[in-house]
Each structure stands twice: as C-alpha cells, then as structure tokens.
Symmetry: C2
Subunit: 344 residues, 2 copies
C-alpha cells in the first residue's frame, strides 16, 4: 500500500447528507468517513439504509465511493472522492442470528458496535446500571467478526464489556468516538484502564468533538481538546489515536429521539441531554463542520505535535488500522504465510 | 368465578401436538396447559406460530379452546375441552419494541419469559457467566406487562435477574417450570432465596418433571418428587406451588437443537445435555405422558397431602393465580374501586 501521509479520516460522523455537506467534507480535505448505517434498526431496516447509500453512490459519483478495504481510501483520495465506510452503532442489525455478521459484511459493513447505551444480546451499554460483560452470544459474534474482518467498536459500551471485548477479540478493537473520562467525566467517555488496555492490544481511539464528550461542552477550547490528545498520547501511544468527530449535522429532534429511545421506551429518554436541555448540542466554534479539520491540525501543531504526528492523528493511524481490520482472517493468514515463505 | 376444586392445570408443556396427544391430555384429566409459542422466534415467526394454533382451534374444536382469562379454563372444563394458554419461553418475539407487548397480548399471549438461558435485551439467562439483572429496557417491559396483564415468567433466567424481576414487578411473577436447587443442583433449578422471594411476593412455582431438573434424572422416584413438593411447600407455602411439567413430546433432535442453539451459535450448544448425551431425556416411568397426572395425585396423597392441598397443587393454585395475572391493571383497578364503593 502506498503510504502517503496526507490524509484526513474521520472515525465517525452521523450526518443527514446532502450534496452540499459532502462537498464541505471534500473541501475540508476529508478522505474517508465512517458513516452510521444503524442505531436500533433491525436487519431489513439496516439493509434498506445500505440500499439508500448505494443510491447515493450512483447519485454523487463525483463525491463518494464505498470503502471495502483500506486501499479504497487511497483510491478515493487519488480520484478526489470521499471514501465511505459503513458501520453500525449497535448490534441490532444482526438480530439474534450469528450468520448475519457474514451477510452484512458482504453488503459492505466493516464496523459494528456490540451495544449502544443499553444492554444488547452481546454486551452491556454504558447507560446500564450493571455490566455483565460479553455474553455467550457476544463471544460467538466476536469470533465471527474476527473471522470475516468486521471491526469491533465499543464506543457506547460499558466498562467491563469493553475490557472483555479487548481480551476476547483476537484482533485489535476500536473506540471510534469517545474521549478519556479524565478529560471530562461523561458516561460515554472512557477510563484510563480501558484506554490503556485498548492501546496495549493495538486498538484505536477516535477522539470525539461531540459537545457532551467535551470539557465545558460547546465552549470547550481548541487548546483543551488538543492538550487532551497530547495527554492521551502519553498514556496509550500516539499510534493509537485518531479523530472520531461524532459530527452530527442536519437532523431534527425526532432523529435524536430515535437515537436515544429507539423502540425500547414509551417515555422519552434524554440520553446525554436532559428534559430541559434535550436538543442537539451546539458544536464548538472551531469545529462546526467538516470544513474545520484545518483548525484541529493547527491546534495540534500549536500543542507541540510534529508534522508526522499530526498526520498520524488526522488519518494515517486509521488507515493503517483499517488495513489490518477489514481483511478476513483467511486473507491475513495467506499474507502471513506468503511473508514467511519469502523470508525463508 | 366458580371455584370448583377438581382441576388439572399444567404450568408448561412443549409438545408437537397431534389429535392423539391432545386426546391423551383430555383423558388424563388435564383442563388447561400453558403451551410454548416461541423460544427464539422473532415477531413474525411468533405470529405465524399463533396462527398455527388458531388453525388447531378450528381443526379440533372438540378438544381445545383458547384461554384469555382464567374463567376460560372453567368454561373449558365445563365443555370438556382443554384450555390453551399462549406463552413465550423468551422475549425474542417482542424484538426491541416495547409496543409489541400490548400487540402480542391482544393476539392472546398471556405469559412471557424475560430470557431463555442466554442474555436477552431485558434480563440475563441462567446459562450466562455473569448476571447484570434487569436492564433499562427490561424495566420498561415489566411495567408494560404489568399494565396489560401479561405474566412474567423467569424459569430460564439467572438469579439476580429473577430477584430483581420479583422486586420490580408490581404484580406477582411465576417460575412456571423449575425445581429447587436443594432438590437437584441443575443450573435451571432455583435457589431457596429465589423461591422464598417468589412465595413472599405472591408468585407461583410450577414444579418440573423434565428429567434434567430431577434428582437422579429419568430414574427419579415419584416419592422423591412428591417429597420435594412437600419441602418446597414448607419453604414457600403450598398456595404458591403447582405443576409445570415441562413435558416435551413428539419432537425430533432438530427441535432440541433449535431450543438450545437458536440462531446464536455456529457450533451446537448442548444446553442441559452434553455431546455424549445430547438427545431428549427419557421421562420417568411414572410420568411419561399427560395420562400420568393421576400418579402424581396418588404420590402427593401418599406423601401426606390432604385432598384440598392436592387440588391446590394440581390446578387450583394456577387458576387463582391466573385470575389475578391475566387481567389488565385497568380492570383490576375498576374491580377494586367497585369493591370499595360496595363496601362504603
């Protein structure tokens, strides 16, 4: 793989895409985005959302192209498009069927969270009172995701479940969008224990720009955000850090209600908000859209990161990580055997 | 309600019904059976199974009739039919949708287990290593089941989940088919803590005749079984005990595989069996079919139970319990208000 270092890869966005917003991302220099296909959707609903993306690929061929393996991201950059990585924020699309992991992988899905805030059939979500860790079915799903090359994401999962996923998974996992609890003690942010285990196992953290994950929320300063990346790099190593902006754009309140309450509650659940502060939070001024990635690059430079380090955080780490994550274990084995035969 | 004491109600059977097997149940004096509509079935599959029962009601009107409220059981007896109570052994039929509780209640479902061996979206199953108790969604489902009048069954759930369900539910719950762990330490059997909490809250235990739940399995003696009922009555009170035979008949091995492995595992899970002993267990000689309830009645008499006590265990306790369980909370409220106005 050509290892050009100038890349911007966003580890998660949730945007109601228009041509204009994709153009913004392109103008902002974004080369690839992990997009959200599902929160609570079941199999057929998730497949419908995938079909809608297939339509977008046909509608806007000048702007976007699907990413099935990490070299597709380099191709996207070379053809001046944005590479789109399909991901689920919850395991609901596989329903109770282990065989759907492979089926959905064949439909292009490369990333799946094992739970979203609540208990799932595989793992506990971060908003539950008690965390029983990875379930019997969860162990099967991890093995199957490892086999087909679907990246395990524990962004919205609870602590013990996350630590167990790191341990059980034979391949490194990701937390595509969250920050350290030490930076801001949101329920969604992650303890040093989790971050350390993530880094030691070769995993990736996408640092989040969603105001509920930031110190001082919408008023968080660029300097504080970049200092947080600095101290996290000291904790887990800079190779394990990227951006997972969690940028949410162009949705009305009903979408936020769906994200938070799905179909599981008759009364509204306010998630990270509250009854008095229920709406979408306002982005920090220095990161209001995909046009603002240059601000983060400048902030990182100001904080003392070298150009090489900035390249890693902005995209190169995700690229290298996706290269290992999206290959099936069979392909990895073939590669490793080939390497061994060459060596001997 | 007419309180005739001569009734046999089975708190759970899972039978591949034929006219002959229903005739056996009728000949055995059975007045009502809680039948299994689903283990891992999703909404549409469960509805299809309900439709199949509706066909059976049309096909065999001389033998069976649906039970929507407990007086239907008395009507069934008076017209010489077997009353059929619909139940789910798992919460899979409601999928992730709280609104499906009411919908499935309207289709006749009166009993639902919150989990079956594995973790569900509501509660932990008894085969999981860790038990996180009732989940956020689980609390919503319990409230909704309480409202519409759908009985919560924790037969296949784990200890903490069961204790929490008893505590959270505003109406008594049931363990329709299990025995005390003190009788035989099967994973599926229940601790004295659970049984005590169940009895104190007004709940019901259906004692099981499934060999994996019995001391000495298929060789369990009638005397040991009846002594177990005796000691359980001493622990939780005879009003809280019935029969939930868990009688399984006329299924081949593939059905057992479905019960155990559903769609959650690529490799077979042997549940209460093992690779070497994977098949359906042989029933004890003294309870090989629904024709053998008279043996249990005789055994209970031999153990020292009075005729009144035997009537309670064989059916009257379930009848009284179902009377309170299958009414919607609105109806219960109306009744209680009416009683108060009459009293004042």
């Amino acid at each position: 793989m050509k290892n050009d270092s100038r890349l911007i890869i966003d580890g998660l966005q949730y945007v109601n895409w228009t041509h204009g917003l994709l153009q913004d991302a392109k103008d902002g220099g974004v080369n690839a985005i992990h997009v959200t296909i599902a929160y609570w959707e079941n199999t057929s609903e998730a497949l419908a959302n995938i079909d809608a993306w297939e339509q977008k690929f046909k509608q806007w061929p000048d702007l976007i192209t699907p990413v099935r393996c990490s070299s597709d991201i380099l191709d996207a950059r070379d053809t001046d498009k944005i590479g789109i990585v399909f991901g689920f924020q919850n395991s609901s699309p596989i329903e109770d069927d282990i065989r759907k992991v492979e089926m959905l992988h064949s439909r292009g899905v490369r990333i799946m969270q094992l739970s979203y805030n609540n208990q799932s059939l595989q793992a506990t979500g971060c908003y539950e009172e008690h965390d029983s860790g990875i379930t019997r079915f969860g162990k099967e799903v991890i093995r199957e995701m490892n086999r087909v090359g679907m990246l395990i994401d524990m962004s919205h999962s609870a602590e013990t479940s996350t630590l167990q996923a790191i341990e059980i998974s034979e391949r490194p996992i990701a937390i595509t969008h969250a920050n350290p609890t030490s930076f801001f003690p949101a329920i969604r942010n992650k303890s040093d224990d989790v971050l350390r285990a993530l880094g030691e196992s070769g995993g990736m953290l996408g640092t989040s720009l969603y105001p509920f994950h930031l110190k001082q929320g919408s008023d968080c300063t660029l300097e504080d955000f970049c200092n947080m990346i600095y101290s996290t790099a000291e904790l887990i190593g800079i190779e394990h850090i990227g951006i997972g902006s969690d940028l949410c754009q162009n949705w009305d309140y009903s979408t936020l209600e769906w994200m938070r309450s799905g179909r599981w509650s008759l009364a509204p659940d306010y998630g990270e908000g509250s009854a008095k502060n229920r709406d979408w939070p306002k982005q920090p001024d220095w990161f209001s859209s995909s046009l603002d990635f240059n601000n983060i690059e400048a902030g990182l430079a100001q904080t003392g990161f070298s150009p090489d380090e900035i390249d890693k955080v902005m995209g190169l780490n995700w690229l290298n990580f996706f290269e290992r994550s999206f290959q099936s274990s069979d392909d990895l084995l073939t590669e490793s055997t080939a390497a061994t035969s060459t060596a001997t």
